[in-house]
């Protein structure tokens, strides 16, 4: 299970990314830039209403535009795919709207043309009439089930961890996850202090600079899809299901991704591209504009009501968590977000009595899915703000209060799973040390006030999931790795090559990593949730170790003396009489897992825990409410870093992305209509948003069941930043914000309210 003993010197090496040359010369391949001969371009006509019955769609003007190849609606799609619904948790999303539309921006019709400008112009000539229906946008309101988004829900049954989803009628709740540990009501009754707060997060989105793109090339005997997909294996399974074909007739090819962050997971444009190629009998490319991402997938807005009871010594004895997740019009992976995040909603604290209710809700908004953290950043925003508020109310030091209640290795987490290999206290201590927490802090006196704050978090990696890898040693000794992990910038190709190099004692640079192609790269559950380095890392290690064992067998078969320095090429030549043959090693990894019982309890919730925290120092301009982060600290427990430089850039990048979500990013929505669907109106962090001082630290730990002691890192620095900043704002100016983003306006309004001079519009 644990690290191999032979060292190739590859682990812990800050090797620059293997594909660096292609990326700096502009030659790296991305789906958005790919072309096939005979290819048509698709442009989508989208719903203009949030909820309505489609009375009619008029495509006649579009059909008459010169150069248009075809215009298709769901009537056409159903001629080639009888049940055209897809999705990872529920088969609820139609390829094109059928009968009803469920959000503004939902695809209703498609124009195909060889000139994308012609397709675009023609799509604008399509009109549709709707009978508008009442719509629901707020997650808490949706839970009342007064306005229903869907008439019926059909579970997908594809993923092992979502087998329990049930078909439902008369509700907007796609999944309600519940956890009951101890007896919270009894504990609250005996508590010396009880605190209750509600926190909200806004709708934000991934915005990878390569927008979504898929090209489908359908033939009667098979289909090839080129796609900006984070999970090629799932896309293959889902397309094969839609076509009623065996998987081996479906080929998914994924070049590099121009960013993903969860937005390109599961199935996005692939089903639509497939249907269009089937109808047109030509390759069809759908390449989104930046605006179209706003109508494709977002992060989950959330409302979290959290209540804690403390005994007279300040120990948290009960915590009740109610979380409502705004999933938008289609479930996508919302049920997994609801469940997997749900069970860590009580935070990294040792609490005997915990009650969690986590609800995945349908609303009439753009669907929400995974975004770097799978819901955990929303939870941490609430529980670490809440924890700080309790400490302040009790006049306790926030660090000491946390340490008194901290969950430590050997103690059960809310699920009952015993914590192992979690450096929560170490992370907390390092942040405090870096902040000089125990030293006095100058908060300023004039217009500019200073504050500091921090937060710490725990996340479980998704389970159970499977990864498979193949290592192929060629007759000249050169080695190729086949693995389905999608390198979307996190450096997985480089890290996996380092693991192969470590086992086979060769430089990682010499290992060829085959780009993802389901015809040759074996199954992987998906590149998501910081799972790849651990799961695929193990599969790659096992594959390389099997190859190494076979090489040893060959040496013995050829009677090579112990310690002979015959090269791999020599062995092949000796065996086959020429440069011929292969040695192939395969590795399959699936960790143990016990599904939660009816109370959400299990003794084995996850193969590893992720731990990270952030600390900030800020300045608040009390005249404008403007907050400036002057120092940003991220500390994470990533196990043993395989590639320290890449780990550092992952921490830094995740943190700066979360800085946007914390400080200014927000989709503005008016009656279901997104009013800022462009980079002109939706700002993402740029050079001037980077704090002047930024420190990232992966503390020295070792994940005992990880490949070479490693575990995942991609999401970690997103966890603690938002509450750290809100805590620092409170520290600086004594106002508490409970809703993201932490804009100057929000701070200014809070300052005015605190001074008993609220702005007139409140």
């Amino acid at each position: 299970m644990v690290a191999a003993t032979v060292s190739g010197g590859e682990i812990g090496r800050s090797l620059p990314r293997l594909e660096g040359r292609d990326k700096v010369t502009g030659r790296a391949e991305y789906t958005h830039l790919m072309q096939l001969s005979g290819m048509l371009h698709a442009k989508i006509f989208r719903s203009t209403v949030a909820h309505g019955r489609i009375k009619s769609i008029d495509t006649s003007a579009a059909r008459n535009v010169p150069g248009v190849y075809a215009v298709y609606t769901s009537d056409d799609v159903r001629k080639v795919i009888a049940e055209p619904y897809y999705g990872p948790a529920f088969h609820d999303q139609p390829i094109l709207a059928i009968g009803k539309v469920h959000f503004v921006g939902e695809p209703v019709a498609v124009v195909l043309a060889s000139d994308p400008h012609v397709a675009d112009q023609a799509a604008q000539q399509i009109t549709a009439d709707y009978d508008e229906l009442p719509a629901v946008f707020d997650e808490v309101e949706a839970a009342e089930n007064k306005t229903l988004v869907h008439d019926e829900l059909k579970p997908a049954g594809t993923f092992a961890d979502l087998k329990h989803l049930k078909g439902r009628k008369g509700t907007n709740i796609a999944l309600d996850f519940r956890l009951r540990r101890g007896d919270v009501d009894k504990a609250f009754a005996t508590a010396a202090n009880v605190f209750e707060h509600t926190f909200r997060t806004q709708k934000v989105l991934h915005l990878p600079l390569e927008p979504h793109a898929s090209i489908a090339d359908y033939r009667d005997d098979g289909i090839t899809i080129y796609s900006s997909a984070q999970g090629p294996s799932f896309v293959r399974t889902e397309i094969a299901r839609l076509l009623g074909w065996p998987e081996n007739r479906v080929r998914i090819k994924v070049p590099y991704l121009g960013g993903g962050y969860g937005g390109k997971l599961y199935i996005k444009l692939e089903a639509l591209a497939t249907a269009m190629s089937m109808l047109a009998r030509r390759p069809v490319k759908i390449a989104h504009t930046m605006e179209e991402h706003f109508y494709t997938i977002t992060k989950h807005p959330s409302t979290f009501r959290i209540k804690s009871g403390l005994d007279k010594d300040g120990r948290i004895i009960a915590r009740k968590c109610e979380v409502w997740w705004n999933g938008g019009a289609y479930a996508d992976i919302g049920p997994r977000v609801t469940q997997k995040s749900g069970f860590t909603a009580s935070g990294p604290y040792d609490i005997d009595n915990v009650s969690i209710d986590s609800y995945a809700l349908y609303t009439n908004l753009t669907p929400a899915g995974a975004l770097r953290g799978f819901g955990v950043p929303q939870l941490v925003w609430a529980y670490e703000s809440h924890t700080d508020m309790i400490a302040r109310a009790l006049k306790r030091d926030p660090l000491e209060f946390r340490k008194q209640n901290l969950l430590r290795d050997g103690r059960p987490q809310a699920t009952g799973t015993i914590l192992k290999d979690t450096a929560i206290e170490k992370v907390l201590d390092r942040i405090a040390e870096r902040l000089n927490w125990k030293q006095p802090f100058d908060r300023g006196k004039g217009v500019i006030r200073r504050g500091r704050g921090f937060a710490v978090a725990l996340k479980a990696v998704i389970s159970p999931t499977t990864s498979v890898a193949i290592v192929n040693v060629s007759a000249d000794g050169s080695t190729t790795l086949y693995c389905g992990t999608v390198d979307m910038g996190q450096g997985s190709d480089t890290a996996m090559a380092q693991m192969v190099g470590e086992v086979l004692n060769m430089p990682a640079e010499s290992v060829r990593v085959v780009p993802r192609d389901t015809d040759v790269t074996p199954y992987d559950m998906g590149t998501l949730g910081s799972r790849s380095l651990f799961h695929m890392g193990h599969a790659v290690r096992l594959a390389a170790e099997e190859a190494r064992t076979k090489i040893g067998d060959l040496r013995r078969e050829l009677a090579e003396p112990e310690g002979s320095n015959a090269s791999l090429a020599d062995l092949f030549r000796k065996k086959y009489g020429m440069q011929a043959g292969n040695i192939v090693g395969t590795g399959i990894y699936k960790p143990d897992y016990i599904p939660p019982d009816a109370n959400g309890l299990t003794t084995n919730a996850t193969p590893f825990w992720m731990v990270a925290g952030s600390g900030v120092e800020i300045e608040v301009d009390t005249e404008t409410g403007h907050v400036c982060i002057t120092r940003l600290i991220n500390v994470a427990d990533v196990g043993k870093p395989i590639n320290p430089k890449i780990v550092e850039t992952q921490l830094s990048g995740a943190s700066l992305m979360q800085l946007g979500f914390s400080m200014f990013e927000k989709m503005h929505i008016d009656g279901g209509q997104v009013t800022n669907a462009s980079l002109a109106d939706y700002k993402i962090p740029g050079f001037h948003d980077v704090p002047p001082v930024m420190e990232n630290e992966a503390i020295d730990t070792y994940q005992s069941n990880g490949p070479y002691g490693a575990k995942g890192v991609g999401e970690l620095a997103t966890f603690g930043l938002s509450p750290a900043i809100a805590n620092a704002i409170d520290d600086a100016v004594g106002v508490r914000l409970t809703e993201l983003p932490l804009t100057a306006e929000a701070v200014f309004r809070a300052l005015r309210a605190k001074a008993n001079k609220p702005l007139e519009d409140e």
Partner: protein, 163 residues
């Protein structure tokens, strides 16, 4: 409905070339469809992200907003022109050495903007770098590493030109 194409002549990466462009074709589309150059790429489509940066007569322009017809008579340099066989431009090498990218989609734009920056300020300070590159966005947020890469590129470009 389709308006007539107009012939233009310009210099592309050191070669005299001709193209037929329609009034609505931007520089990115022309480079991709007529010259098979994909280093400059459209992302936001509004001149805000910098993924489409090319140099026109030595100045960086957003290829998604700059119309192709404007290139008549101009000298155009794209990211594809920087490396010589077996040798990367000092800017490209510095981006690799400093780990100044993750997904790489925005990288050609940053590389071209950095070329322009170093051309104008051979020894830029942090403030100049932030200001000059504030029109380039990196969603992976490799900004700290990019800052280091620009400084390294400036040093190495100077060393290369004087030595």
């Amino acid at each position: 409905m389709s308006p007539a194409a107009k012939p233009i002549n310009f210099t592309l990466n050191g070669r005299r070339v001709a193209a037929d462009v329609k009034p609505h074709h931007n520089v990115v589309e022309m480079l991709q469809t007529q010259f098979a150059l994909f280093g400059a790429r459209e992302s936001c489509g509004q001149g805000l992200c910098g993924c489409c940066t090319v140099l026109v007569d030595g100045r960086p322009v957003s290829g998604c907003l700059h119309l192709a017809v404007f290139l008549d008579g101009a000298e155009v340099i794209t990211v594809e022109h920087l490396a010589s066989p077996g040798k990367l431009d000092p800017v490209q090498q510095a981006f690799i050495d400093c780990g100044a990218f993750q997904c790489g989609y925005c990288t050609p734009g940053f590389v071209m903007m950095t070329k322009a920056l170093i051309g104008q300020h051979p020894d830029p300070n942090d403030e100049q770098i932030r200001d000059y590159l504030s029109g380039n966005l990196c969603r992976c947020a490799a900004y700290p590493e990019i800052l280091n890469a620009v400084k390294m590129a400036a040093r190495n470009s100077k060393a290369g030109s004087t030595g």
